[in-house]
């Protein structure tokens, strides 16, 4: 059972505040939720909304149908009215224009009047919150939790009074709402990355601001003192990548994040990290490209780019996030993989996931282990790029009296420049062969729904949540369908995929890009063509309904 609430107005209406407090109250009440914000790349004006989906089960995406619309402007009704379910509710401000005739329950509140009466001129968001809490059937005492560290007693009083007044004035209530009582954490996709990195012991984080990745840096910078950590806003992305490579070559876990444009500037550095065998973790929070593209919109179109970015051939690991919770674990794991194999790990997120917030099961930190793979005592026979082995601990300057050379040229086992043909071939073999070891630690994609179904949807990254919801829906209709959800992307895990191909499943890739980039990767690795695709590249995330519709159309043909 899922309830969808859309709250929209213009920038400056405090939509973020409403979202923040509503989701806090929901968490307090034991609900799971997923909340995503749709905002324009501007500070004031324009139309912004937040879409909160609550449930008694973990939620990883929004739905198409809406149970409640809270409209602070007429545009919100114009854009979203058609999505309201039959029993759906509208809560709106006094001057919002509704369709004639309106067949839905409506609570029209005069926001300005309420604020005047309570003398709380800045409490716009509190009016909305009081009304929503009533509409979803929570008791009035829920509003006692409207508190914040930054607020004085007087503000808390005024806010609670405002919210209560709106609560009283709201008379439409949803009939059924799930009950639950669990404890969860609440985090955004970007926060999950930051936390994963901190859990992994990141000590240096350098990046250049670029939406939608900046949230990672903003979160980390608050905890510089506690960990201890250096967060530096670099002069450009080239500086960011080069400085983290060097910090990592000195034994400090380091990370950078950006979106596609910044990643383009980091490309030479990526190859350098790989040839020097320095472990780095790079996050690409995708937005629609090319060039500046759309700063606050989402897409999954950088897979091909990060797969092949940088000249020459070298091993790399590419992991994508299937959910906010997954972002935490994948980021943590990225550091261990990178240190163990001394290869760059690229994490693929996207605006939808990065800017979404959801409940997350509390991670068991004791079960996580940091493995730095550093040499702690002088080793006489140490070779920095040892041809006798693929996986080796490394020496970093200043940890022992052993000295070491890190080099961007082709080099010999000790990091000295050489153009020797036999050395070049041996070093290339050494580096590329790491992929054969890495693949053993790569996670197979998750097969959900009916594993024996004829139709198997294939997806990666944040599309996982929407595809899972679509599969649930079809299964609920008694239809047989499955989905194969890729988190780890490169080296491509092929066991499950091969089995599906062998049993003749019809594969349908669902991707937020034009080319079907995972489809292309599968075809490149397995020489297997996938003929059916559901693609979206309008800068907006899929919805389950979009996938269902496209799927129905496809099987009609």
């Amino acid at each position: 059972m899922r309830i969808n609430i859309l709250i929209g107005g213009s920038a400056g209406h405090g939509i973020n505040t409403i979202d923040q407090f509503l989701t806090r109250l929901l968490t307090k009440k034991g609900f799971h939720f997923h909340s995503y914000k749709d905002y324009m790349s501007r500070i004031r004006g324009g139309t912004n909304f937040t879409h909160v989906t609550l449930s008694d089960q973990p939620v990883h995406c929004h739905d198409d149908a809406l149970d409640v619309i809270v409209a602070l402007t007429s545009e919100i009704i114009k854009e979203h009215y058609d999505r309201l379910t039959e029993n759906g509710l509208i809560i709106c401000d006094a001057d919002v224009v509704l369709p004639e005739p309106c067949r839905h329950q409506v609570t029209r509140l005069n926001f300005k009047e309420i604020l005047k009466e309570t003398g709380n001129t800045k409490g716009y968001s509190m009016v909305a919150l009081g009304a929503i809490v009533k509409a979803i059937g929570l008791e009035e005492s829920t509003l006692n939790h409207l508190v914040d560290k930054r607020w004085t007693e007087a503000i808390i009083d005024a806010n609670t009074k405002t919210a209560r007044m709106a609560y009283e004035a709201t008379h439409c209530v949803l009939i059924s709402i799930p009950k639950t009582n669990e404890d969860h954490l609440v985090m955004s996709g970007n926060q999950a990355v930051a936390l994963g990195a901190l859990a992994a012991g990141v000590g240096f984080y350098s990046a250049y601001p670029m939406a939608p990745s900046t949230g990672v840096m903003s979160y980390l910078t608050q905890y510089e003192t506690r960990y201890p950590l250096v967060v530096e806003q670099a002069e450009d992305e080239i500086a960011a990548i080069n400085s983290i490579i060097s910090a990592a070559s000195n034994g400090l876990r380091s990370m950078t994040s950006t979106s596609g444009g910044g990643f383009s500037l980091m490309v030479e550095g990526l190859g350098f990290a790989a040839v020097a065998e320095v472990p780095v973790v790079m996050l690409d929070v995708q937005r629609p490209g090319p060039a500046t593209g759309m700063a606050t919109r989402t897409e999954q179109s950088d897979l091909n780019f990060v797969l092949d970015a940088s000249q020459g051939e070298f091993p790399r690991i590419i992991l994508s996030f299937n959910s906010i919770e997954d972002a935490f674990y994948k980021t943590f794991r990225a550091f261990n993989l990178s240190d163990k194999y001394r290869v760059p790990v690229i994490l693929l997120s996207d605006q939808y996931l990065a800017d979404s917030t959801s409940t997350v099961r509390e991670p068991d930190l004791k079960a996580l282990k940091i493995d730095l793979h550093l040499v702690k005592e002088v080793r006489e026979d140490y070779r920095h790029h040892d041809l006798r082995t693929l996986v080796q601990d490394r020496v970093v300057p200043g940890m022992t009296s052993q000295i070491v050379m890190n080099d961007s040229h082709e080099h010999d086992e000790n990091g000295s420049v050489t153009e020797s043909a036999s050395n070049r071939a041996a070093m290339n073999d050494r580096r590329m062969s790491k992929l054969n070891e890495i693949i053993k630690e790569i996670e197979e994609p998750r097969l959900i729904g009916d594993p024996e179904a004829k139709d198997i949807l294939i997806c990666w990254g944040s599309t996982a949540g929407v595809v899972a919801a679509a599969v649930d829906n079809l299964t609920g209709q008694g239809r047989s369908v499955g989905a194969l959800i890729f988190g780890d992307l490169y080296p491509l895990p092929t066991k499950t995929l091969t089995k599906l191909i062998e049993r003749g499943a019809r594969l349908i890739n669902v991707e937020g890009n034009y080319q079907g980039q995972l489809r292309q990767l599968i075809s490149r690795e397995l020489a297997y063509p996938i003929h059916h695709s559901i693609l979206k590249y309008d800068g907006r995330q899929f919805s389950p309904g979009y996938i269902l519709k496209a799927y129905e159309e496809m099987i009609q043909k």
Binding site: L25, T27, K28, H145, D183, H184, L185, V186, M187, L195, L198, A199, G201, G203, S206, Y223, E224, P228, V230, E232, A234, E235, D236, I238, A239, N242, S243, I244, S246, A247, A248, S249, N250, G251, L252, R253, S254, E268, G269, F272, F332, E362, P363, L365, I370, V396, P397, G398, M399, T400, S401, I403, V404, M405, N406, D407, S408, G415, S416, V417
Partner: protein
């Protein structure tokens, strides 16, 4: 020849007579005189003839990408500020490909010694103009002469408030060694613009050409006077070329600005996943 703990006996591919040899010898001599050991040092470079230097010295080395030596030095400094960091770049490495980093590295005032091997030409790529090549000077690529104005690294560094700015002449090793030692003892960004003859591609700015023009700034010279230093730095060519410590400014070094970092070796801090439990607790409502 005298041996040094910093010798590494690798094959050297610089042209015989190249000014870089003098710079390498002076570095080794300065390190030795300061009692430094190879493991105390990290030599960082980009790409170019100058940037080969880390391969020719027995010490920790980081030979990164063209233009990117300064961000690399920064990362190393954050990870382990106990290391003595020396950065060797060409003029193209530091001022063209790495020009943006040069400006911003100075703003950080990190504790490094940066040597620009200023041969006024691109040596490694066979003689094209560098940002320091004089207007009108002919090169292998600018066959009718350079059309754009040269950049003066010393003037630029002074204007940016670099906390230690000096110039040395690769043809005068004892003097260069003294400057190097002063730079290595300076806490903050110490820049040395080294006049480095490229015997193969720069037939104008030769050992003799420099010898005829350089003069050491007098005892009475006050390196803390920014305006005077700025105007002194503008002298060039037949008017004489000042060498020595041209500018100094007292200001906190990068690490001294990190009030929250209580260690000088950040990479050695023990970290555990459970350290983040307090942050998780903040996410409970």
């Amino acid at each position: 020849m005298k041996t040094s703990p910093f010798d590494n006996h690798k094959e050297n591919t610089w042209c015989p007579g190249c000014g870089n040899f003098g710079i390498l010898s002076s570095m080794k001599a300065a390190f030795e005189e300061l009692g430094l050991a190879p493991e105390d040092l990290l030599i960082v470079s980009g790409i170019g003839q100058a940037a080969k230097l880390p391969h020719y010295i027995h010490a920790n080395g980081f030979n990164g990408l063209h233009g990117r030596a300064l961000p690399a030095a920064f990362g190393a400094h954050v990870a382990n500020s106990k290391l003595k960091l020396v950065v060797n770049t060409g003029d193209g490495d530091a001022l063209a490909e790495g020009g943006n980093h040069f400006i911003h590295a100075i703003r950080k005032n990190m504790d490094i010694t940066h040597l620009i091997h200023d041969n006024q030409v691109y040596g490694l790529t066979k003689g094209q103009a560098a940002p320091t090549t004089p207007l009108g000077q002919k090169t292998t690529l600018q066959i009718e002469g350079v059309r754009v104005d040269p950049l003066n690294p010393v003037t630029l560094a002074i204007s940016l408030g670099c906390s230690f700015v000096a110039r040395a002449n690769a043809g005068d090793q004892p003097f260069m060694k003294e400057i190097l030692m002063a730079a290595l003892n300076h806490r903050g960004y110490a820049l040395i613009d080294i006049l480095q003859p490229c015997v193969t591609f720069n037939k104008v700015n030769t050992y003799q050409w420099f010898k005829d023009r350089v003069y050491a700034v007098p005892e009475s010279y006050d390196p803390y006077d920014k305006v005077a230093a700025f105007s002194e730095s503008l002298k060039w060519g037949d008017d004489g070329i000042p060498i020595g410590i041209l500018y100094k400014e007292d200001k906190p070094a990068y690490y001294d600005r990190l009030d929250h970092i209580k260690t000088d070796h950040l990479a050695a801090v023990e970290r555990k996943p459970t350290d983040i439990q307090p942050l998780l607790n903040q996410l409970k409502f």
